[in-house]
């Protein structure tokens, strides 16, 4: 028995140790730092209570980033899930080369946000404007990335390109787990394709939708890499009569605050991001519970 205990401790130790050092301790430090005047340079750190948080909710750049992140997330949830659901219907149909398409649509997911951000920056700033110039289409001659009104939408398009193939796989797995006889029976009863999708397929896929919505929501909320290399926050715009960066999402706002050595303020922003994600996760869990009761 004693030797069993030694094995238990020995086997759990590496993960528990790494987890404590990398996540637990920095997490509690992080909560503490958000209530200090930490600037990343001075070792002299003072506790100042909720002052940072009070300041945040009156600072236009943070409020703007927060709102634009919510908007960006909302667009993504719709766009990514509609596109990936359509893709999943296509690659589970009887179309030729369906496995080839399935494999191809997934490729963008394998490429990191940093790399694909540069690629799409090139496409929007150079390739599309070149098409606009050679065909004299005025709408294309100015890059979409330089217009404050469209830049968030463009980021959603790029995000959809990256994630649609991945979310598609989740929907495909769900569709394949539904017995084909159900769809066939409905077809025999005279239900057309659209009716079958909406009345049978979608209700049967509730679980896949929950997972996909959660994944799109959290990844959009934490979006950073692609934001950095696609737009770097730009172009400039105005909010609450102050200049702000039109496409600076929350994660990037935190990053640029810290780069300016306002570490405690960045930390307070990160805590707000954390609280927002916890709220989302709790809503998610309670919704899952509800569904389980229904079933």
């Amino acid at each position: 028995m004693k030797r069993n205990r030694a094995v238990n401790i020995l086997f759990t130790f590496p993960c528990v140790f790494a987890f404590t050092m990398i996540i637990l301790i920095p997490f509690f430090y992080g909560l503490f730092y958000s209530m200090t005047d930490w600037n990343g340079v001075s070792e002299d750190i003072h506790f100042i209570g909720f002052k940072n948080f009070r300041y945040l909710f009156s600072s236009p750049d943070f409020l703007y980033s927060f709102l634009i992140t919510i908007g960006y997330t909302a667009i993504n949830i719709v766009l990514v899930n509609v596109v990936s659901f359509m893709l999943s219907l296509i690659v589970t149909s009887r179309i030729r080369f369906r496995n080839f398409y399935r494999a191809g649509f997934f490729i963008p997911y394998l490429i990191g946000g940093i790399v694909l951000g540069y690629i799409w920056q090139f496409i929007f700033n150079n390739a599309l404007t070149a098409i606009g110039d050679s065909l004299s289409i005025q709408a294309l001659q100015v890059s979409f990335l330089s217009k404050p009104g469209t830049v968030i939408w463009i980021m959603s398009v790029v995000n959809t390109w990256q994630y649609a193939g991945y979310i598609m796989l989740i929907y495909v797995a769900s569709i394949q787990s539904i017995p084909a006889s159900l769809m066939e029976a409905a077809a025999v009863d005279g239900a057309n394709y659209i009716t079958r999708v909406f009345k049978i397929l979608i209700p049967m896929m509730a679980n896949a939708f929950t997972i996909s919505l959660f994944l799109t929501l959290t990844t959009s909320f934490k979006q950073f890499d692609m934001n950095l290399t696609l737009t770097n926050g730009g172009p400039a715009t105005r909010f609450m009569e102050m200049p702000v960066k039109a496409s600076q999402l929350l994660a990037m706002n935190i990053f640029s605050t810290a780069t300016a050595n306002r570490m405690a303020e960045a930390q307070a922003k990160a805590v707000v991001l954390f609280v927002a994600l916890v709220v989302v996760a709790l809503i998610q869990v309670s919704m899952n519970k509800k569904k389980e009761v229904e079933m």
């Binding site: 590496p14 993960c15 996540i23 394998l110 496409i123 989740i170 290399t229 991001l273």
Partner: protein
């Protein structure tokens, strides 16, 4: 007769529908692949050619090899070094994550005590914590601990591998936990009766059974670590001795502002290994992604 014609008509319209769908999918697929085509096309041009037109075909494909050799022989960014470091960091991190997470998960499943339940809950709850809350306190903490122990944690491979173990283990333990729960206990009991120690039971009996789920854990963590940007940026620094590919790509883009011939070639080289790997291990990668997200 009437019935026959209606059937024929239905079949005909379904053929037409199939053809329309087939055409639509081809168009969609081409649109999805355009970014890759743009990268390859423009990697084979000189800077001048790209400025002249970003959408034309390259005048000579030989330029592609010239650009590639320019990247590899670049004096400011050690691209080959970044490749090597990225590979070493990814492989080592995956080894420790798979080994230690499976060991930990096994103890948490088999040892039915309150401690196991609490530990498991803490790991699961920690998955909600966004990286942004941890990153700055983590860097500070790693510096403090490193100074105290006279170890270099920041800027070194062991330091970042340890960090990846900490960040990767909660999800990996969660996935292993779900799998190990379904392994019949009788197998281990009979091994114990045969005189096998507890530690040996895990490595000889349980670990080999985990093979399918290990693939899932490897793929989920592998894609993340290979493409990760913020953690290497903070732990290794943007011009440290140890570099990863995403950092090298941003360094390139920073050093050669708007020199798209070089930037795009560097993104092409960054994408190539992961796409080649995907072509060979496609089945496993797709399966791993689906299982990892549904659980």
């Amino acid at each position: 007769m009437a019935r026959n014609t209606s059937l024929a008509r239905r079949r005909k319209s379904s053929y037409r529908g199939q053809a329309a769908l087939g055409f639509f999918v081809i168009v969609l697929f081409v649109v999805f692949m355009i970014p890759f085509a743009m990268v390859v096309l423009n990697s084979a041009k000189t800077s001048k050619e790209i400025i002249y037109s970003a959408i034309s075909l390259p005048s000579s494909w030989g330029q592609l090899f010239k650009n590639v050799s320019l990247i590899f022989n670049n004096p400011t960014v050690d691209y080959l070094g970044a490749f090597w470091d990225s590979t070493v960091i990814t492989v080592l991190s995956l080894v420790v994550i798979v080994l230690f997470s499976s060991m930990c998960a096994w103890v948490l499943v088999r040892n039915k005590s309150a401690w196991s339940a609490i530990l498991f809950m803490v790991f699961v709850a920690a998955m909600v914590i966004p990286f942004q809350v941890l990153m700055y306190p983590l860097v500070r903490w790693m510096r403090v601990v490193g100074d105290f122990l006279h170890l270099r944690l920041l800027g070194t491979v062991p330091g970042i591998v340890f960090a990846y173990l900490g960040f990767g283990c909660p999800l990996s333990i969660f996935i292993f936990h779900g799998f190990i729960k379904n392994i019949p206990l009788e197998l281990e009991e009979s091994a114990t009766i045969d005189g096998c120690s507890r530690g040996r039971t895990f490595f000889l009996i349980v670990f080999p059974l985990l093979q399918p789920i290990i693939v899932t854990v490897l793929i989920l963590n592998g894609i993340w670590i290979w493409n990760d940007y913020l953690l290497p940026l903070l732990v290794l620094g943007s011009n440290g001795i140890v570099q990863t590919i995403p950092i090298a790509v941003t360094a390139f883009a920073g050093a050669y502002l708007k020199q798209w011939d070089l930037i795009l070639t560097s993104t092409m080289i960054a994408m190539l290994p992961i796409i080649v790997l995907y072509l060979f291990a496609q089945r496993y990668i797709i399966k791993g992604m689906v299982e990892g997200s549904i659980k």
